[in-house]
Symmetry: C2
Subunit: 414 residues, 2 copies
């Protein structure tokens, strides 16, 4: 091997070194020293790992998702704490575009980093961790660290859940503008966790279905409709404080600055949907398909007029339409922060139809917010004819790691 060693190698630096260009700045120096002569592109952008909150929640939604949940197989509390410390260092390095810490250059050992992203920029990678309710059972003595509001989701209307795509002791959400970078993060954490955790399920998302900033266009879901038009934006701190960030006065210090992540694998019956006429599709959502405007408006961002009635006396935005049922105006102001992705996993072998839909992710102050909304939507939403919730997870995301002295889950084991 012709590359220098260091505690953390830059992926770009390793590439440069390998090409015989020298390794100046390769050891842990991050982006600034890793120019490859092509100029700084979008992929070069880094999202800071350290902060009051974890990144990947209000971060402008990246294009790609790799999500996985893990079950802890070790029964030793120390193993779990050690793994979380190792994971934190690896996640922090990968978000900088650096390799997983450790030796990737000795011929005598397995490389510390699996290597498939060598040469790739950080691509705005964020790695966000959450803990499932099951982690607070008797195994690790964490029962007294469970926040009062945190329990398994109840059975909800509109769901037929596959246990092999639901639950987990720990969840990791990796988002990046490059799918290889996102997958690499999850794969390497799984690898570092070997002996302590096993992967329970994983999901790739290939197109964001929401925006968290007015700088981002509203994307479309696989039903062809703009999704997340009324999402909370990252600069709306009052709404975030009220509906997204966990209670800052929680007796459980570790959850302050954190949030609850709800993941739902929502299968869309796209073949059935595609046979529906446009007028029906628009009635189901309550929006125009092309523009995304509410049926009472002209522009995507026009506020829906839920009181408006047509010449026939019926509401212009139908009673069972998705936006009417989900709107904060009709739910006592209730909001959640959406961060979902489209998915497709080939063909459903039972039916020959596409296994495709929405991998819904939302963050909220209290899981009860989702329960309230889904109880209503799952019972009344006209969309239910075309969708089914087939996977589910609830995870408590701790506050952010403040600096290099901290690590994920620190407040759990103090």
């Amino acid at each position: 091997m012709r590359v220098a060693r260091g505690p953390v190698l830059s992926r770009r630096g390793l590439l440069g070194g390998a090409a015989g260009l020298g390794l100046a700045g390769a050891a842990g120096a991050g982006l600034a020293s890793c120019s490859d002569g092509r100029g700084e592109g979008l992929g070069d952008q880094q999202v800071p790992f350290y902060g009051t909150h974890q990144s990947g929640i209000t971060t402008d939604v990246q294009d790609r998702l790799a999500f996985a949940t893990f079950d802890v197989t070790s029964t030793r509390r120390e193993d779990l704490a050690d793994m979380l410390r190792t994971w934190t260092a690896a996640a922090e390095a990968m978000t900088r575009g650096a390799m997983v810490p450790g030796d990737s250059t000795s011929a005598e050992a397995p490389p510390a980093d699996t290597g498939e992203t060598v040469g790739m920029p950080p691509s705005r990678l964020t790695v966000t961790i959450g803990f499932g309710p099951s982690l607070f059972d008797r195994r690790f003595g964490l029962g007294d660290r469970r926040p009062a509001e945190f329990a398994d989701l109840p059975a909800l209307p509109g769901e037929i859940l596959d246990p092999s795509r639901s639950g987990g002791d720990i969840a990791v959400q990796a988002c990046a503008d490059d799918p290889a970078v996102a997958f690499h993060a999850v794969r390497n954490l799984a690898r570092l966790g070997r002996g302590t955790v096993v992967t329970r399920w994983a999901q790739l998302g290939f197109g964001r279905t929401s925006s968290t900033s007015s700088a981002q266009d509203t994307p479309r879901n696989l039903m062809g409709f703009k999704d997340g038009t009324r999402n909370i934006h990252s600069d709306d701190t009052a709404t975030l404080d009220r509906y997204v960030w966990a209670d800052g006065r929680s007796p459980q210090a570790w959850v302050r600055g954190g949030s609850y992540l709800v993941a739902r694998r929502i299968r869309m019956f796209v073949e059935t949907w595609d046979r529906d006429r446009l007028g029906d599709q628009e009635a189901v959502f309550g929006r125009a398909k092309a523009s995304g405007a509410p049926l009472t408006g002209k522009d995507e961002f026009d506020p829906p007029d839920f009181g408006a009635r047509g010449p026939d006396g019926e509401p212009v935005i139908p009673e069972k339409s998705h936006i009417r049922l989900a709107a904060f105006e009709n739910n006592g102001g209730l909001r959640i922060l959406r961060r979902g992705y489209s998915y497709t996993d080939g063909i459903d072998p039972r039916t020959g139809t596409l296994d495709a839909g929405l991998f819904f992710i939302a963050f909220m102050k209290d899981p009860a917010q989702f329960v309230t909304l889904q109880t209503k939507l799952g019972s009344h939403d006209g969309l239910n004819e075309y969708i089914r919730h087939v996977g589910s997870g609830l995870f408590a995301c701790p506050g952010g790691v403040r600096d290099a002295g901290g690590c994920w889950g620190q407040g759990l084991f103090d």
Copy 2:
């Protein structure tokens, strides 16, 4: 609906119209008139649909793949021919970034286009079609149109094939720099084919693992190694003529200018691989992991010296290494054009390991080229400890559609 109608709507134009900006140039005018004021980016690039050869073979490899195979359920030859005509028009429109031809604006009918890529640029979409050996059975009277060299692949070493991920009467390879654009193409063809075909299997690829041009960096596969360093380049017309394009004097006119597509879903046992020491990994490939250089060289593109021996008298590039076995120097000059993608489809429920690997696609003049190479590699390659071929398909891709008067499969039904 507030958008104008036309035989083919531009996706960008539809967006502009919906936002109240007018619809100048929206009807089928393609890219030039569809500026969204953000300037022309990479996504705006179009790959021409018409030509001597189909696009998507020597086209600079796009970042994302959606691949699907279909079985014909109709027994009427006319249905098949009609569908191929409809598919051709749809594929041509989508590669221009236009919507699927037909009416997507009538409230009274299902939209002709499913709509999830409205507002997205062409993203270098290519749609490539191939016909499986089974299409030439008795159903459609095409037996006399089967080229002599075209038969099912024989059983090969290194494979344990899943029938639900193998075969098919027709294959469609959609490649684009945006996964939603690639998926949209396959989904809409499946939709247009309803009643004539059913989808047999589908595969998404999330990272190209080869280059067909010296303008493209060599990417890495999920084992962390550069893949396809010695691939044929699109400007090497002599090699393409000799090893990739089907026989120009074939008695089957429809296959002239075409090529044979071999698809192999190659599962990688990444957990096992990741535990192997770097020196072993490099011996398996015969290349340095970081630089991609052959073990006898310093630079990725240094020609391997298969005769070189180390101080111990052993070959520097081991006898069972992948590059030695696959090299054209050691196979009488034999070459194939590779165009593969990495894939990951979550967790293998039987083992809890990642279902990930390489979706290998290669184009060649004669399927025997692949049979020769895989017979050798499947028997001797050191890589076999870490991989298994689990899906397979062979398809004869016709020559390109020359102009708007032609369509896919034309030469089959004349």
